[in-house]
Amino acid sequence: MKVTIDGRITEVPKGTTILQAAKLLDIKIPTLCYHPLIKPFAACRVCVVETKTRWGDELVPSCQTACRDGMVVNTSNEHVLKARRFILEMMLARWPNVPILRKYAEEAGLKTPRFTSALKDERPDACILCGLCVRACDEVVGASAISFADRGIQRHVSTPFNLESEECIACGACAMVCPTSHIKFEVEDYKGKTPEFLLGPNTAIYVPTLQSVPRVPVIDAESCIHFKTEGCQKCVEACEPHAINHEMKDEEIELEVGQVLIATGFDAFDPTPMAQYGYGRLDNIYTGLDVERMLNATGPTGGKILLKNGQAPRAVGILHCIGSRDENHHRYCSRVCCMFALKFSHLIKERTQGEVYNFYIDMRAFGKGYEEFYSRVLHEGANVIRGKVAEVVQAGWSKRDEGTLLIRCEDTLIGRFREIPVDMVVLCNAIEPRRDAEQVGRLFGLSRSPDGFFLERHPKLDPVATTTDGLFVAGCAQGPKDIPDSVAQASAAAARMLATIAKGAVEIDPVRAEIDELYCSGCRICNALCPYKAIDYIEDKNVSRVNMPLCKGCGTCVAACPAGAITGSGFTDKQVYAELEGVLSV
């Protein structure tokens, strides 16, 4: 269908409204009660345009009028502007200070409105009764929690009986579509955390992190409107390749593999039980990961270091070794904390110009370029105090110091007790084994070292393999390590696995059990003992036989055979007796 809008001709499919056609031509028509995701309502009439018909020029709302073939439309001649001015004049009489009305009035050439209303609402965020919120809640969300109440000049938008509505799912769709910001969406405050940390992603569909692989958006089922009301699905409409499917379910996929790399990572130590540091109890106390999030340019504060009140901190205390190198928690060193603490010192100093205090036990800058970075941070003026912090308390007896924190510690280098006021405290919490490490270990038959991380085959000579063939470990699953070390270990493990694949054959230990059928009496004691069911009983011969590929060579059957018919290669009775004679000969 051909339509002419303001003298320009375009081709549009059937059913296109004049407003949509104008948009294709980049012709702007003002709208108030229109939203592309919601059905047209034509209540405000601001989008009025002129169409030429046989019986003269007709004014129609462009949001609701479909194009006809050969239609000629005029969006901004004097006829249209006069009508639009009058409409806006009437609205401004009642809501004189709403910015969007004033903007449209100015565009239409309206200087001062002639009328005034007894119901004048002078708030700039007054409700102009466009009904977008009502329709969004009904059509998009499907909750129908708000509606128009009363009639005529009493008309207003409200929940049933103006009470808190159970139907409202707090999705915020009404606040989003409101052209005057009359509806506001407020997030409840939460102690110790900025609301940004709590909010998480501010839409239900988002890309988890910019580095995620594959980099595709995910739908958060807990905040997605569709899973609450079965409505919405606007993303499905908007997605051109039709890639969104709300029906997808979590599924378990069984894969048959020959080798497994255990790289299950770590958990960050939760400093809440260390009450002396006030995490979760006092404001402006953060863990390393919280601060990392804050420092991120795509994070909640856009990379700014901010206190809960929105100001930059004047001084920040960074506490090393929280939960690590601590007899009460983990005895090991987490290895990464010193360096990320120094990184924080550098970035916080750069971004806030405030004082930074590091409280450390020993500074461990062991990697390539690390020591150089340490001295650079020192030259930048970061304070380092050798001593473990005793406690962090709320200071602020005077108005000026309100909200300040006081760090109490012993400075072991000058041998004195110190109290240092800061605005923010960063706890460098330890790396600890994942809480399901025990189950994973059981599942794969992996041993764990006393600290709870998975045990490698040999600490020096084989740090990527485990005692089970085909099982490898990498990264923090094996022990605390930084990114370069994790990458090195993971690459080594991958290379080891590839080497086996390239070889095409697996070498198995020659330690196997063998039954001498001449001596076997067919008592079948061994059949029941074998944990791998590797011993078959051959009925017609009345003997048992070892199924070689299944046998793992534990020797349980060898020890149990009353006839001595089973030999365990590598560990035969004769060999063990000889060994005994040897060790007891001296």
């Binding site: 041993s447 070292s449 089970t468 944990p531 060579g553 349980t556 020890a559 560990f571 063990v576 060994e579």
Partner: protein, 158 residues
């Protein structure tokens, strides 16, 4: 310091499973932990491989004590070999009593690959315990009657 050549040094044989206890003993060594030097370790793939005749032969050959070390219950590399070791050791203790051998000379312990410290502690403690029991003189005992390749344990018990 003058060493007392008269002091009794017990001879102890340890049967260690390859996956947990032997690795644990290795850890004790690489961690430079001190433990009694009396233990003579024999590595087996699993504590389930410990044939009771090994233990008897050890006593016969002059051991004063035998230590069997395996993985903790549920951690066995071969799923349940350590339980079989437990069954056999408990039974063998009864038989040892009938031989006139103090059952404290045989001990079964669970030592994981991470427990170097426990290995050092167990081996030292056991050495001291056997030292207190004194030497085991089997030269005059019943076990010396059987010098053959196989030890018919059931007949001995009867």
């Amino acid at each position: 310091m003058k060493t007392n050549s008269k002091k009794f040094e017990p001879r102890i044989v340890g049967f260690l499973c390859n996956w947990c206890s032997y690795t644990g003993a290795d850890l004790a060594g690489t961690s430079r932990m001190k433990s009694a030097p009396n233990l003579r370790i024999i590595r087996l793939m699993c504590s389930g491989r410990v044939d009771p005749s090994f233990i008897l032969r050890a006593f016969q050959l002059g051991a004063d004590g035998v230590l069997v070390l395996g993985c903790h219950p549920g951690d066995c590399h071969y799923q349940e070999g350590n339980f079989k070791a437990l069954r056999r050791v408990l039974l063998l203790k009864r038989i040892l009593r009938e031989f006139g051998v103090d059952e404290r000379r045989l001990r079964l312990e669970w030592v994981s690959a991470a427990e170097g410290e426990k290995f050092a502690k167990v081996s030292s403690e056991f050495t001291e315990e056997v030292r207190a029991l004194g030497p085991l003189h089997l030269e005059t005992g019943v076990l010396t009657q059987f010098q053959g390749e196989e030890l018919p344990t059931q007949e001995v018990a009867a």
